[in-house]
Point group: C2
């Protein structure tokens, strides 16, 4: 059986034809920012899907899963996503059903990543875990009893906006001290620059700080220790909520390896409430960076077909 | 239909015969701390239950629900509760089944309170909410999709031990800065004494600080504003997890009324991530203080009989 995974970004819309074993058979993409209206955008997406199926002799798909900013699981809409050139509340499900009568499921990208990990990745054996995605921002997806936590609004699982340090760093959300301001790629750069005593500059990125740390640079190492302490605290706090079996990490900054992961385990153990000691592992995502968005989106369809 | 609710405390074990409409028909109790072995303790509990049923001409009950420190929903055991004189892992379910073949369900008291609110109290119309209980400690119970969140260990929903202020006040759990150290009855007294510049003393309790605030005492008012700010932050953080429809409050300190509730709403609104604005109400528990423990315990049985 096959399904379609669609990853909607502000610049590009990536699509993939995904086989049930988690293999992406073929890909396609269109420029999201070339569109200002939903109808032509969906028409072109559905054209790509038809071609992907046709080229690969696939006559039937299980459904279409979509990872999108502000993607709402309950309504099948993308709700006023600030970084899309198509404005308003966009009813993807309804519009796609004009072309193809298959289930259409939307969620945000971090939720999709978490679900993808369960269906195709390193969480196949788990039904209770949390995924933290570190990147431009910090996202999260929470799986409880084998189901994604959407909450009453559809917007649950925003742990990047848990306030970690009251009155801390200014966050783009308007509040202060969110986890994201410390452990996103940008937050990590800020910490490095603060420790080095230099202004924050666009010349430095988290990858460079990772390389420096792996070369033994003491300020870079201190940066990752600081990030590990902050992330470890946030992870331990999240355990008090749902007592997960594991916390998964993915995203660019997690690729640094030891300089982050060693102090992270230490911080997590230090901050974990004693009744949870030993009950929750730290694991790395087992999905490839260039596949997770499409696989995660495709995995979403399993929510409709398995329930 | 009837069920039995049992509230196990370190000093007393309270039992109640509960009718399906949430009326406690009759009560009974035994001194928990008179026992050091499980068998005689359960024998005496079951004797009380038999008498409660007999006295009220009840021939059949739906089950026995138990709210207990370290009560484990999955195993039916109380696991090494530090404040009980009966030590070890206590298999209540197994022991009770020697006397009566009905479902036996255990959970901790905050979870029971949350579930009781849904079955008998102010959350009958909700399937997604969080209960914070303020008392000697701070407990919480999380209901998601109409089910209590137990997590992988059975110990989920310990939001009183979310670290609110990194490196903050020393908590009895061994870590620092837990919500409980600020918004428990004891934490509130500490804040008042700090603001007043006096040593923490056993002569002051949170009820007195409440009375002082309602009389207009500025330091007492400032105390509740501080507590409101801390609790509001913790509540807003919990919304990022499960996007509940409401957060319920119960326990002695919440009885102060306006001095807490007015600044609490303000703090909650201030700290709530914008995407959740207006989606989550603050509500007070609708169960009576002297009934919640038994009703909550009795409600737990609905988890087994409804699923």
């Amino acid at each position: 059986m096959y399904s379609i995974g669609i990853d909607i970004g502000g610049t590009n819309t990536d699509m993939g034809l995904v086989r049930n074993d988690g293999t992406i058979i073929a890909r396609s993409n269109i420029p999201t920012n070339a569109y200002t209206e939903l109808e032509p955008y969906i028409r072109d997406i559905m054209g790509c899907i038809a071609k992907l199926m046709d080229d690969n002799n696939v006559e039937k798909i299980e459904g279409i899963g979509i990872g999108a900013p502000n993607g709402n699981f309950y309504t099948g809409c993308v709700d006023n996503a600030p970084n899309l050139t198509i404005k308003g509340v966009l009813n993807f499900e309804q519009e796609m059903h004009k072309y193809m009568d298959v289930p259409v499921v939307l969620s945000n990208d971090a939720n999709a990543a978490a679900y993808g990990e369960m269906v195709y990745g390193g969480a196949k054996d788990l039904d209770n875990f949390i995924m933290f995605t570190l990147g431009t921002g910090v996202g999260s997806g929470i799986v409880l009893d084998g189901k994604l936590v959407h909450g009453s609004t559809g917007g649950a699982g925003e742990l990047g906006h848990c306030i970690l340090i009251p009155n801390g760093r200014q966050c783009s959300c308007g509040r202060k001290g969110c986890l994201e301001t410390y452990t996103s790629a940008r937050g990590i750069v800020q910490t490095y620059c603060e420790l080095k005593g230099i202004p924050v500059t666009a010349d430095i990125d988290s990858k460079m700080i990772g390389d420096l740390a792996n070369q033994g640079d003491p300020i870079a190492l201190k940066t990752w220790e600081t990030v590990a302490d902050q992330l470890g605290l946030a992870m331990a706090n999240s355990v008090t909520f749902s007592a997960p079996q594991a916390i998964f990490l993915m995203g660019g900054p997690t690729k640094v390896g030891e300089p982050l992961l060693k102090p992270l385990q230490k911080a997590f153990d230090k901050y974990l409430l004693n009744i949870f000691a030993g009950s929750c592992q730290i694991r790395m995502s087992q999905l490839k960076a260039n596949e997770v968005a499409i696989l995660g989106a495709a995995a979403l369809i399993k929510m409709k077909t398995n329930n």
